[in-house]
Symmetry: C2
Subunit: 395 residues, 2 copies
Amino acid sequence: MYEIKKIGGGVCAPEGFYADGVSAGLKPDGAKDVAFVRADVPCETAAVFTTNKMTAAPIRHFRAKGAFKTNFILINAKNANAMTGQAGIDDIDEILSAVSEAHGGLVDPVMSSTGVIGVRLPKEKIIEAAKGFDLEKRDAVSAATAIMTTDTFYKSVATEVVLEGGKRFRIGAMAKGAGMINPAMATMLCFVTTDADADADTLQTILESVIPTTFNAASVDGDTSTNDTVIVLSNRKSGAFDETAFTEALHAMLLELAQMMVSDGEGATKLVTFDVTGAANDDDARTAAKALSNSLLMKTAIYGEDPNWGRVASTVGASGAQCDEATLTIAFDDVVVYERGNILFDAETEKRAATVMKREQFTIACDLGQGEGSFKAYGCDLGYEYVKINADYRT
Amino acid sequence: MYEIKKIGGGVCAPEGFYADGVSAGLKPDGAKDVAFVRADVPCETAAVFTTNKMTAAPIRHFRAKGAFKTNFILINAKNANAMTGQAGIDDIDEILSAVSEAHGGLVDPVMSSTGVIGVRLPKEKIIEAAKGFDLEKRDAVSAATAIMTTDTFYKSVATEVVLEGGKRFRIGAMAKGAGMINPAMATMLCFVTTDADADADTLQTILESVIPTTFNAASVDGDTSTNDTVIVLSNRKSGAFDETAFTEALHAMLLELAQMMVSDGEGATKLVTFDVTGAANDDDARTAAKALSNSLLMKTAIYGEDPNWGRVASTVGASGAQCDEATLTIAFDDVVVYERGNILFDAETEKRAATVMKREQFTIACDLGQGEGSFKAYGCDLGYEYVKINADYRT
């Protein structure tokens, strides 16, 4: 057996990791906008990236390396370095060369960016700021703050896993994204550090296994940004590892970060779990759950606290998932409003369902009555504030 | 050769067709909410319906008839008669029996509904109003007005086709839907009448050939309502027909109705054509064009009149269509902002692009540079008004 404990320290919680955030003048008013994550030794590296075909330069730069170890990630906000062609990749090389020269000891450094698409990086500002990094700083909060874009709060978590016999390892992570509501723009980035004794292949397998039910379950509109990135670094310092425990801990951490992103969805006031069960298979359940979390009609009904179960039925029906009105059941938390062909939506039930929708967090549950497939997706409402934020993002 | 002329009269323009709309008290303030379309003889009938699996009762009722001729369609707004099970179908039978009894002469009448999902039809009110129909009325405007839900204007068109030698036929049509912006709720309904001498199979083939580039090109969020319906009735009275001319005329009419719906999209202020060319094939072009018209980020950028071409690139990249930043070209009307890897978005170009976006109608053009495929999709912006309308639709 093992124990998983939440701890503080974010990406600096595992032994041998350093991080900080500073201002390079990319954001107004001297806000922090450039960060680093550094390890004391070159790390085993695992990563997953966007499936968007207009892949941003930092991702193409990372991928071109093939298998490699690194001890340094440089991250900037406000500029995605996407749609910038070869020049965007050359910019990264130039920046990382200058930073390596200034600091020494960086092994195969990489870069990660988020912000506006189609504008060249302000190289000089980033280089200038990065030259001033104190690489011994362990300020996970500053780093998590610097990578924010439209986020309203920083997102940082850490866990200690204690194995039977007392051996232990730690995992730290930070993420940015008010962007699961619109990942096409407000990119999600996530950086995970660990001193667990796991090699790159093992980390990659675990990472790919937890993404579908964490970050990918929270992506609201099916869009995928040019920059979406999750990178895991392991320095293996703890000498301890257990695959089951690591997977469970990482899944819980990434789910927490994903839910933070949805809660922080631009203008969002509610975090809703779309819990689809009884689907013909898990793929069908995912299809239906994500259709619900992406639906404009659901999102506006949630904003209006309107238990419009007809939209739930219609959205599931249009999703492509196998379903039938005679086998469908719909509930808002514990309030069943439609059950296998029977409309239970009398005035009393409507009142109870409306009360559920006033909560900051609740579940819309759909049992399709077709089989054993299930999936949980996470979404939020869409209100005036979302329109305000996105109608004029660039300026 | 042939000539296609726009004329007045809507669904009553072809010889032998009658229509009217009255109030059954389903809408507040005595607004018209129940309509009929009647033909003097049983008509050849073609139809296409929603692909939503939660198909509404009127569609299941229609389909159950197999091949049939009818001379009467009864239409109501405010209630979709969806998710109502067998009871919903029984309600239709009961209503149509009562109306047939009152009027006599109705042959295999059918019904079509739009409105809130999951509530039984107010049978008595509808029967009472329908009993009062004056079946000799030819008031296409009243009929087109009665079927409106959140529509802000009625949608009615008619065409006369003059064939070589002077033979002629007419086509009339009406539609409702502020709903291409959200077809999952504000159903689209369309009724087409014609005196062209075409049989049901021919009409069905033509109808299916024009839907993909008209109504389906305007569906904004990929959702499909429980009630979407297009029905064509032909009484063959003119004795004239030419398949090419009929197809061209019908395509133009349905495209005009589709564009009216987008213009009338809930809270919409702009009609935007997403013109994708140079795709690997037409399917890819459709995928990219519809992704653009459905994107929340595009819709809010359009509302904000922000020429955010990075969102165009990102949305196309995420759509699944084959594409590459090195071959992509993006233009707002005639203002090219990105051309095959080159960012042309200087201050002057940005100003010109922003000017285009202030127009009520404009085109966002994407040449993917991959092949010969093309598709045009039609969309609108999303602003505060959309949220207002949809946050509390039921009440």
